[in-house]
């Protein structure tokens, strides 16, 4: 790292057309080789910062700027976009919109060819970029045929062939599964190790950037509320929580342990491992500063087997025609009992979405059938299924089309023939339930992404289904938004005695809510059982790249000391590991 600032923002305020202030008095300096992580809730200004540095504002999105910006010696405001692009590359969230050429080779050549870079140089840069993202041998493949992680790495390689000095990564892993995220983060780590790029990355996944970050900037409503080294920022858990940023679980545990060890200075190291934190907890237990109280944790009560089966997949096989044909489900048998809260996890392509689409009749299996309360859904119309089983898809924007949130909910109710007076009652009730009563008359596209998702949930719940299925409600969602959606599912489960199925990659979230977990792998059920039992089968889980929650991993490490293996969340861990002084007061 040298001392020359490559990125310099001084007192920068940016206002979009329509007088929306997106960034306010922001200061940031990054030097060559430095890795800056920008955190914040959705709408905090992270993407605007990326746009400002890469010249996308004002050249694509207009607005007004105050303050000074310098990126690799240029002010992106004054330079045409192609000039900034030669110094600053940008990788966005969605790989689909960044790949437009028919082969990976052509994709990598696209940028430098636009700039007139000689053909030999383009070949050399392409080879280097492919090696760096580990996609050698796929040059002639259509980028659209690659997996999610491969697509994003292909998009990254296409940015790298522009030979930038600055790389802006705007939530590059938010739409990927755990394997895809790991692949992309590994590629970014290699870039950092090379040391010649200055990298700015926005993310919600605080755990994955800990070992990379040199500097962390936390934004809240466009303002920097925390800024410094990872240890300076991540030890301020309360402020992070206020800003809607998740403090990595291991840091939370360490901080808690430090709090109980009055004689020890608070640990400032943030790049932690499970075994190191477990070792520290073990020492605290052995020294008597912490007491293990296994009885404090109620034993799990999974749904009784005598509850009736509400939804059943019987010997389901689904094949997509292709080319090439892909078998998405292979003889899957699953029974969902009334009142269960079931999590479904697995890699993209493992068959999760295919399974739930079969449950609502969107896909017809090649073999086998789906039963609702013992009756085949083949006999039911789409409307009849919708009144029984509701599926909320990942992207709410595929369904919203009316002029107001109220109309959006009315639409489905009219389709299923609910009487007019009941429609109004249900509309108000569901809007209240999802907390959108005040936005009832707003145009849905004016809502934030999180609120649009809530509206989609409301539109589904209004139909009065007995089963609610949420397909990856956590994707592209900030920490707070994820839990708001999960809470809606919990309320449906508890207040309406509904049955919930939730597909997600967020193991911490699913461990908190789901009683039962199904792991799909290559179109088959790999594991199925009570959540703690499934998370306990670490070796089997590795096949599907599912890693148990941090609390469960710590509990497993501390099991010889009496910590029960069904600890799944940090709150449960605190119930079991009690400081000696608290226990004295019992």
């Amino acid at each position: 790292m040298t001392n020359d600032p490559i990125i310099s923002l001084q007192d920068v305020t940016f206002t979009y057309e329509g007088d929306v202030v997106a960034l306010h008095n922001l200061n940031l300096t990054a030097r060559k080789g430095e890795f800056v992580v920008v955190l914040g809730a959705n709408g905090a200004g992270k993407s605007t910062l990326c746009y400002l540095i890469s010249g996308i504002v004002p050249h694509i999105y207009g607005g007004r700027r105050r303050g000074r910006v310098s990126v690799a010696g240029l002010d992106p405001w004054d330079e045409p976009l192609y000039a900034t692009a030669q110094r600053c590359g940008v990788l966005m969230q969605d790989p689909e919109v960044q790949l437009f050429m028919p082969t990976l080779k052509a994709e990598l050549a696209f940028g430098p060819a636009n700039l007139g870079v000689p053909r030999d140089e383009i070949s050399k840069r392409s080879r280097e970029a492919l090696a760096l993202v580990r996609l050698e041998g796929l040059e002639e493949h259509n980028p659209r045929d690659l997996s999610g992680g491969q697509k994003q790495r292909a998009a990254l390689a296409a940015v790298l062939t522009m030979n930038p000095q600055v790389l802006v990564l705007d939530e590059p892993t938010s739409q990927l599964d755990p394997l895809g995220r790991w692949e992309v983060v590994e590629a970014i780590e290699r870039l950092k190790q090379k040391g010649d790029l200055t990298i700015i990355m926005t993310t919600h996944e605080t755990e994955e950037i800990l070992r990379l970050a040199d500097q962390v900037l936390v934004l809240e409503r466009g303002e920097a509320v925390l800024q410094g080294t990872p240890s300076q920022v991540f030890t301020q858990a309360e402020r992070l929580e206020e800003a809607g940023v998740k403090t990595p679980a291991l840091i939370q545990v360490q901080s808690r342990l430090s709090g109980h060890e009055g004689d020890y200075p608070e640990e400032k190291q943030v790049n932690l491992t499970i075994s190191a934190v477990a070792q520290r907890a073990r020492q605290a237990i052995q020294a008597g500063r912490l007491v293990v109280r296994p009885a404090a944790l109620p034993s799990l009560r999974p749904v009784a087997l005598d509850r009736p089966v509400i939804l059943e997949a019987r010997d389901l096989t689904v094949e997509y025609p292709g080319p090439p044909p892909v078998v998405a489900l292979r003889g899957v048998n699953v029974q969902i009992r009334q009142g269960e809260f079931v999590g479904i996890v697995g890699q993209n392509g493992s068959g999760k979405s295919t399974l739930v689409k079969c449950f609502v009749g969107l896909l017809k299996p090649r073999q086998g059938e789906v039963l609702f309360k013992g009756e085949s859904i083949r006999k039911l119309s789409i409307g009849e299924i919708a009144r029984r089983v509701g599926l909320v898809l990942q992207n709410p924007d595929y369904q919203l089309f009316t002029a107001s949130c109220r109309d959006e909910i009315r639409f489905g109710l009219r389709n299923v023939g609910v009487p007019a007076e009941e429609i109004e009652q249900r509309v108000e009730e569901t809007l209240r339930m999802v907390g959108l009563s005040e936005e009832a008359d707003l145009f849905p596209f004016r809502l934030s992404f999180g609120d649009r998702r809530k509206l989609a949930v409301a539109a589904t719940m209004a139909l009065g289904p007995e089963v609610l299925i949420m397909d990856e409600p956590t994707t592209a969602q900030d920490h707070r938004g994820r839990y708001q959606l999960a809470e809606l599912a919990r309320r449906f489960h508890e207040e309406k005695q509904g049955t919930v199925l939730m597909i997600t990659h967020d193991v911490d979230l699913i461990a908190r809510y789901a009683h039962r977990l199904i792991v799909l792998y290559q179109g088959q059920v790999l594991l199925d059982g009570p959540t703690p039992e499934v998370f306990g089968q670490v070796e089997e889980l590795k096949k599907s790249f599912v890693v148990p929650p941090v609390a469960a991993q710590l509990a497993a490490e501390l099991a010889p000391l009496g910590v029960p293996p069904h600890v799944m969340t940090l709150e449960e861990l605190w119930q079991v590991l009690v400081p000696q002084r608290d226990r004295g007061g019992e």
């Binding site: 010249g55 996308i56 694509i60 045409p80 976009l81 192609y82 692009a85 030669q86 940008v90 966005m92 969605d94 689909e96 919109v97 960044q98 437009f100 050429m101 028919p102 082969t103 052509a106 050549a109 696209f110 940028g111 430098p112 060819a113 636009n114 700039l115 007139g116 000689p118 053909r119 383009i122 493949h141 259509n142 659209r144 296409a158 522009m162 025609p321 292709g322 080319p323 689409k357 609502v360 969107l362 119309s381 789409i382 409307g383 919708a386 009144r387 898809l393 992207n395 924007d397 595929y398 369904q399 919203l400 089309f401 639409f411 489905g412 389709n415 299923v416 539109a459 589904t460 139909l463």
Partner: protein, 268 residues
């Protein structure tokens, strides 16, 4: 589902063919369908359609790639056959008589055999017109299309608009499918509606989110392209070098010969 217009990487004689030969095929097809149309043109159109079918077969492109396109065209075909059936001026052999409503030379209450035939000719003409461009774009990589269009002195912006529009069709098909699914979840099943109901009310819940999403995606596309230097006032590097082989000349001669045959038949 593989959308129409998506390049498929297969090694066939048509894929290996020089892009300019395929451009010639597309242009000659357009010329053929632009000729003034007559009811007696069916054999000529069928010859060219048959010729296109041969090219499709050699290129190993499955007909099911066109399911969606054919579904959309089916509505147009029915409309054309009916409208010509009722209004064709040269129609004099009644097929179905619903009543009599004279308007100039046509009787709008009668579907005529000649009218239906002319409607069929128009349908085949549309099929001919829509069969050539997909063959070109599905067998030619975008980079080769860009180089070929460069050789034809087509401005780079126009070329790229064309190529990126092709990329966009893939997204369009995916989005269409996702929106239809999302609305089915709210008991709105466009697939189970009849043609009239679809035309009257069904498309609003599908088209509105599609347009809104397209605007958003178009922005993302623009960002992705412009941050990769697209539109820079710099002479771009030619990535693909195109060289014509003897087989390209043979194919060219073959295509031109079929075109000349069709033209002679049409005007003889």
């Amino acid at each position: 589902m593989q959308p129409v217009f998506r390049y498929t990487h297969v090694d066939t004689p048509i894929h290996r063919l020089h892009p300019l030969v395929k451009v010639t095929y597309v242009l000659l097809t357009l010329v053929l369908v632009m000729y003034p149309i007559k009811a007696s043109d069916m054999p000529v159109l069928l010859i060219w359609l048959g010729f296109s079918a041969v090219l499709w077969t050699v290129a190993r492109i499955e007909l099911r790639r066109f399911t969606t396109l054919l579904k959309i065209l089916t509505g147009t075909f029915i409309f054309l056959i009916l409208i010509q059936g009722f209004t064709y001026r040269g129609g004099h052999t009644p097929l179905i008589v619903l009543g009599h409503l004279k308007l100039w030379e046509a009787d709008l209450g009668v579907i005529t055999k000649e009218g239906v035939w002319f409607g069929l000719v128009l349908c085949v003409r549309i099929l001919v017109a829509t069969s050539s461009l997909p063959l070109f774009v599905m067998t030619t990589p975008a980079s080769a299309i860009m180089t070929a269009m460069g050789k034809l002195r087509v401005p780079q912006t126009v070329t790229f608009m064309f190529v990126s529009a092709l990329s966009f069709t893939t997204l369009l098909f995916e989005m269409w499918g996702s929106i239809v699914e999302a609305q089915k979840l709210r008991a709105f099943d466009i697939d189970s509606m009849n043609f009239v109901k679809r035309a009257v009310k069904a498309y609003v819940p599908i088209i509105t989110p599609l347009i809104l999403l397209l605007f958003r995606k178009a922005n993302d596309f623009q960002i992705a392209m412009e941050t990769k230097g697209f539109g820079a006032p710099i002479e771009p590097t030619e990535i693909e070098t195109l060289t014509a082989r003897p087989t390209d000349y043979l194919w060219l001669a073959f295509i031109v010969s079929v075109f000349v045959l069709c033209t002679v038949l049409k005007f003889s």
